[in-house]
């Protein structure tokens, strides 16, 4: 496939690895922000190919993983309503709530449907005028324009039987929360390329100015990630701290104007609670007042549900890059993708799921931890 295969070329990857080794003179810790990048790194073995002096930490960029347990509880409450058709991306169905997950609601007779595009929910609402269709609106900036288009179109078409359970989060405030932590170890970021494809990277210029840390907007194929690592290490070795764009074929500084326009039309920025990171100021999106009739929390009175995270699962520490999956006693034993204790084991982008799939054979043998 064009724009995929050539960016997986093993000989070019080996050449990038040699160049990274050439310029790395000391220990550096880099965080790849997006869970999609984490999976690509583990799948292609980049973590084992690059010099041991480079420690890759896995960031919070998995929207399923950072959705707090109380939002799952709200989803469960709404999905269990007699007249509801609950639409969601498939990843959310197995994330444990306080008592149950959406999959068990479905097993008990709930009408829960997985959709490919948010706007699929519109068709379901049109086809079922007597039912309440609720869409679980999770995602980062990458998904926000699609979710916004769903709400905008619902209003344009005068639909009354559709609403959205908002779980939208924004990445730059979470990166700042990681940098502000007193025990922060991150020396540089690989920023999430698809988030930047939508909103651009002006926000990072402010972060770089304040925290003096390199941020390289990076794509998702192995060569993208290797180039992103090289560019970050080059900055660190040369004592520079800048925003650089590795993913130029899909990212412009100002992002996608049409996508930003629809996001601003439908959403407003709010403080939001993240699993493991707590409440982060201005890190979430809610419906603008003009679209409030589509807010599922208000429509079905579930806004007041609160819940505490499970104590055994360390996904909060994993999401901040403070622990790796092998550090968890439950990893691969009491916690597996079939029986997950927490979201990082459920999502196809969760760090625990990635380690379970690609590094299960060597628990406790993470070469980076031997240094």
């Amino acid at each position: 496939m064009k724009y995929v295969d050539e960016f997986r070329d093993p000989s070019a990857a080996a050449r990038y690895v040699r160049q990274i080794a050439r310029i790395t003179s000391r220990n550096w810790t880099i965080m790849e922000v997006c869970g999609g990048q984490t999976h690509a790194i583990l799948k292609s073995g980049i973590d084992q190919l690059i010099p041991q002096r480079i420690n890759l930490l896995h960031g919070p960029g998995c929207p399923v993983c950072v959705t707090p347990v109380e939002l799952i509880d709200k989803a469960v409450a709404v999905a269990a309503m007699e007249n509801a058709i609950f639409c969601s991306f498939g990843d959310m169905l197995r994330v444990p709530g306080s008592e149950k997950d959406l999959m068990s609601v479905r097993a008990e007779g709930g009408d829960i449907r997985t959709v490919y595009a948010p706007t699929d929910a519109l068709k379901i609402a049109l086809d079922n005028p007597d039912r309440e269709v609720v869409f679980f609106g999770i995602g980062f900036e990458t998904t926000a324009p699609a979710n916004a288009t769903l709400v905008y179109t619902a209003r344009e078409q005068g639909l009354k039987n559709i609403s959205i359970l908002m779980a939208q989060v924004l990445i730059p405030p979470a990166m700042e929360a990681i940098l502000n932590a007193p025990d922060n170890e991150v020396n540089g970021f690989l920023a999430a390329g698809h988030v930047c494809s939508v909103v651009g990277f002006e926000d990072y210029e402010r972060l770089v100015a304040k925290h003096k840390i390199p941020i390289v907007v990076t794509g998702f194929e192995p060569l993208d990630i290797l180039q992103g690592i090289y560019m970050t290490i080059a900055q660190l070795e040369e004592g520079r701290a800048e925003v650089e764009n590795q993913y130029r074929r899909a990212v412009q500084r100002n992002g996608n104007t049409a996508a930003i326009k629809i996001m601003h039309e439908v959403f407003t920025i709010i403080d939001r609670k993240w699993r493991g990171l707590g409440i982060i100021p201005k890190s979430g999106l809610a419906l603008d007042e003009k679209y409030i009739e589509f807010d599922a929390e208000k429509k079905f009175g579930v806004a007041d549900i609160t819940a505490e995270e499970s104590t055994e699962c360390i996904s909060g520490l994993i999401l901040q890059g403070k622990k790796k999956p092998h550090d968890c006693a439950a990893f691969g034993t009491r916690c597996t993708p079939e029986h997950p204790l927490g979201a990082t084991m459920v999502s196809s982008e969760g760090a625990c799921a990635a380690y379970y799939r690609y590094r299960k054979a060597i628990p406790g043998d993470d070469p980076k931890e031997k240094q």
Binding site: M1, K2, Y3, V4, E6, F7, A12, R15, Y16, Q19, R22, C34, G35, G36, G61, C62, P63, V64, F89, D91, Y116, A117, P118, T119, D120, I138, G139, F140, T142, T143, P145, A146, T149, Y152, T153, E156, A192, H194, V195, S197, V198, F220, L223, D224, Q227, Y230, Q246, R248, R249, A250, V251, N256, A258, A259, I262, S347, S348, E349
Partner: protein, 84 residues
């Protein structure tokens, strides 16, 4: 979740603003994709598709820079070695 796949626009089915849709080929597999966020993209262009929406166009000229950059840093390494 933020997975996005590059594909080539094969046809435009609907030109209405927010319902602008077309068929996109992913290595021969065709899917209907919302193209409202990439008004500049037409038949034959490559777009990045996420959750049924094209989130941006792919800049063909910029796609080569990953390989060009590799050649440049290799030359840099060679010249440093020659100097030492």
């Amino acid at each position: 979740m933020c997975l996005a796949v590059p594909g080539k626009i094969i046809s435009i089915e609907n030109e209405e603003e927010f319902a602008r849709t077309g068929r996109v080929s992913f290595g021969g597999i065709l899917k209907e994709v919302n193209l409202s966020l990439v008004p500049e993209a037409g038949i034959g262009n490559y777009v990045l598709v996420h959750a049924g929406f094209a989130i941006n166009s792919i800049d063909e000229k910029e796609a080569n820079q990953t390989f060009e950059y590799l050649r440049q840093i290799e030359q840099l390494g060679d010249s440093e070695r020659d100097e030492s």
